[in-house]
């Protein structure tokens, strides 16, 4: 028999087994989720959740699919948060500080309270990556923010109204497209394929019998 704990979903009390995640506990209680549930594996950021343990002053945040229930947990989900997402043409912007000033000027209003970092469900150093973005250091911003799941909790806690995940998204795209080194072997392979270099080889495979293909497959050489 599972050990049971009391939790409070939007203030209402439910008794649930203590080995469940918050998400499964909501379902155990009878909720058919539509909002606040996506990949159920910690990648999509749909299930941002705020909670407080009774008697504890600290307000905590988490992903509901990655966090176990505790006794006397008061839970409110945050299935949507109004982030600012600026639109831009990736082909026609430059990886320079100017672009952040233009699209996300509010990052310069950061007061350094660090509430974003404290609230990150992925334990990222959010304030630091915003500092990199302010300086136009998009490579560092991209690296520091890489594991972001865009749940939006940081922005919900920000007194300056910054949409941190969107700032980081822009930095990563600038880094991936303009700053990271180009792959020459990739570009030459694309050109070779366009030139028809492999057409004959592929054509030959298209015409072979299954027996011939098995022979080739079972005796192919495998790189160490």
């Amino acid at each position: 028999m599972d050990k049971m704990v009391n939790i409070f979903l939007f203030g209402k009390k439910y008794e649930v087994p203590d080995n469940l995640t918050i998400m499964c506990a909501m379902e155990y209680a009878g909720y058919q989720l539509v909002r606040g549930c996506g990949c159920r594996n910690g990648f999509c950021g749909a299930c941002a959740t705020i909670y407080r343990i009774k008697g504890d002053r600290e307000l905590k945040v988490c992903l509901a699919c990655q966090t176990k229930v505790e006794n006397d947990m008061y839970i409110a989900t945050l299935p949507f948060f109004p982030l600012i997402k600026q639109v831009y043409d990736i082909e026609n912007i430059k990886p320079e500080q100017q672009i952040m000033m233009q699209l996300y000027p509010e990052i310069y209003a950061c007061i350094g309270c660090n509430a974003c970092t404290k609230s990150c469900t992925q334990k990222l150093n959010v304030m630091q990556y915003i500092a990199y973005a302010q300086r136009g250091d998009f490579k560092s911003c991209a690296e520091e923010s890489f594991d972001c799941v865009m749940c939006g909790v940081c922005s919900s806690r920000c007194p300056a109204g910054i949409s941190h995940p969107q700032v980081a998204m822009l930095a990563r795209r600038l880094n991936g497209k303009y700053l990271a080194p180009k792959s020459e072997h990739l570009e030459s392979r694309v050109a070779e394929i366009k030139d028809g270099t492999y057409d004959e080889l592929i054509e030959a495979l298209m015409g072979k019998t299954i027996e011939e293909m098995k022979e080739l497959y079972n005796h192919r050489d495998i790189e160490k």
Binding site: C37, C39, R40, A180, S183, V190
Partner: protein, 535 residues
């Protein structure tokens, strides 16, 4: 930290680690693999399959749960819908907001077509977001599209439609380039060389990755691009029935708001089904690595209007689903863990197979170890085997895990397990729908004009098993392909009168076949209320 009941076996794993790192297990012969699959792979368990009694694939066997929803009733009847009351009128309607749908939308929009995505959850709530290990492309000097073709064709048991597979491998390098130019980050060395690894069944190291967030990095970038382009994304809205015109061609869909249940009509010159997989159908009671909405909706929508399925009887069970702790039961442990050197080890500390066999073979081998051979570890949720992750740090040096597979490290750390120091417990999990709707190389179904399919909802690209890294590739290649071709096709279409007559026709077929069912479909979401065994 593992509790006392695991300690004895854990000690054996630790004691054997050095020897196990040095040990290079042989790969199985073709005959060994065949025997193993027949005896242990879930696809070969005949009692779990059922014959379709009517419809385009009458006589074919499919998983029982899929058979039920394919033969089920529509959620609506034709007289409930006023087809003259058109809420959305577009050139290209894309059903599904994952990697395939987003890629299709970007290309359709780029081609100048009015494009709309409808998705029952949010854009990006999709298996693409959860793909961890990487994406294949033959772009290294020692590799070629032909070698890639051979690996995938053999790995898929020589059953792939060759014209689809040829497109997949030949368009692969360009797909990587397209993603990179959209700003997707890839793991590269300082001179720009892609860092590539093996996957199960590859003969060259061609797995490109963005740490172990490969799919997430691709999906969030595609989503950002869709939003930048101002493409209409109608979220929390499901397509519940396709609409045809009086010539029998695809011409739109009936939509349902998931929250208010309002029904709406979308008219479209072309329709792309990009609804993804079926893990949440929990075939044979397996847990799944799939996202919440993976319920085979597109297969149902297509089947009901006459589109044929190909290989719908084959599913992929990813060999390494998390088996412990229960909170992450069934969650994906990326194959990259094995690419980086971790081996599969049984309860006695023995390496029982080559870690990079294809997924179906690896899954069957683990099931054998945990059943007839009785060398599994009891987790309280069934048996499991060890995946010895500390080997990675020994082989690649300290810090390799944090650098290359941070998501895995985080997932287990949430439950107090440090995968750098302790191995993890794994068992196969329902991961991928190998089969799906049949398409031609242009992405359109052969039997319903103007109906395109892309991504996991397609059958035939991979044959009867898929290699790691070929599905992130297929959603990009065939997503883009469908988007371009649907947009081009939409320019020359004279639509006839809209109709939902196929619903009654399908009901009549069911009646004639003598099938009695109260089921309705598509299912849209699984029902986990008042139960607690799913993660």
């Amino acid at each position: 930290m593992y509790s006392a009941e695991f300690q004895k076996s854990l000690h054996e794993v630790e004691a054997a680690r050095e020897a196990n790192i040095a040990y290079e297990p042989a790969r199985m012969s073709a005959e060994d693999k065949e025997r193993l699959l027949e005896a242990y792979h879930p696809d070969y368990k005949k009692t779990e399959f059922e014959k379709l009694q009517f419809g385009p694939n009458k006589g074919d066997v499919v998983p029982r749960e899929l058979c039920e929803i394919l033969q089920a009733h529509s959620r609506i009847t034709a007289d409930q819908i006023d087809l003259n009351d058109v809420r959305y009128d577009v050139d290209v309607l894309i059903i599904g907001g994952g990697g395939a749908g987003a890629s299709a939308a970007i290309e359709a929009d780029r081609a100048g077509a009015s494009t709309m995505i409808v998705t029952k959850l949010r854009i990006g709530d999709a298996n693409t977001m959860m793909a961890e290990g990487g994406i294949q492309a033959a772009d290294k000097p020692n590799d070629s599209p032909a070698i890639h073709f051979l690996d995938a064709f053999g790995g898929g048991h020589f059953a792939a439609k060759r014209e689809l597979l040829a497109k997949l491998v030949c368009d692969a390098p360009e797909a990587i380039q397209w993603l990179n130019e959209l700003g997707v980050e890839f793991d590269k060395t300082s001179d720009g060389t892609m860092i590539t690894t093996h996957g199960g069944g590859t003969s060259r190291k061609r797995m490109h990755a963005a740490k172990d967030y490969s799919g997430a990095e691709i999906m969030r970038t595609l989503r950002d691009e869709v939003l930048n382009r101002g493409i209409n994304v109608v979220d929390f809205t499901a397509a519940i029935e396709l609409i045809l015109d009086d010539k029998g061609n695809a011409a739109g869909a009936v939509l349902m708001n998931m929250e208010t249940k309002e029904l709406m009509v979308a008219r479209a010159k072309t329709v792309i089904i990009a609804t993804g997989g079926a893990g949440r159908m929990h075939y044979q009671g397996f847990p799944t690595s799939n996202h919440y909405g993976a319920t085979a909706d597109g297969l149902v929508l297509g089947y009901r209007v006459g589109a044929k399925l190909l290989y719908a009887d084959t599913l992929q069970y990813h060999p390494t689903g998390a088996a412990y702790p229960s909170q992450i039961f069934g969650a994906l442990v990326t194959e990259k863990v094995r690419s980086l050197g971790a081996k599969l080890v049984n309860s006695e500390g023995r390496v029982f197979m080559h870690p990079l066999e294809t997924r179906d073979v690896a899954a069957a081998s683990i099931i054998r170890e945990c059943s007839d051979r009785d060398k599994g570890i009891d987790t309280g949720n069934g048996k499991a085997v060890w995946l010895d992750t500390p080997m990675i740090e020994r082989i690649g040096g300290e810090g390799t895990i944090e650098r290359r597979i941070p998501a895995m490290m985080r997932m287990f750390a949430n439950y107090g397990i440090d995968i750098r120091k302790e191995p993890i417990l794994v068992y196969p999990t329902l991961h991928y729908q190998n089969g799906g709707l049949d398409i031609n190389a242009d992405g359109m179904t052969p039997n319903v004009e103007n109906l395109f399919v892309a991504g996991e909802a397609v059958g035939g690209i991979h044959g009867r098993n898929r290699l790691m890294g070929n599905s992130l590739l297929d959603i990009i290649v065939f997503g883009r392909n469908a988007g371009k071709n649907a947009a081009a096709k939409s320019r020359n279409i004279e639509m006839g009168m809209l109709t939902l007559d196929h619903i009654a026709a399908f009901d009549a077929e069911r009646e004639k076949a003598g099938v009695k069912t109260s089921a309705v479909s598509p299912r849209l979401l699984p029902d986990y209320t008042n139960r607690h065994e799913r993660t």
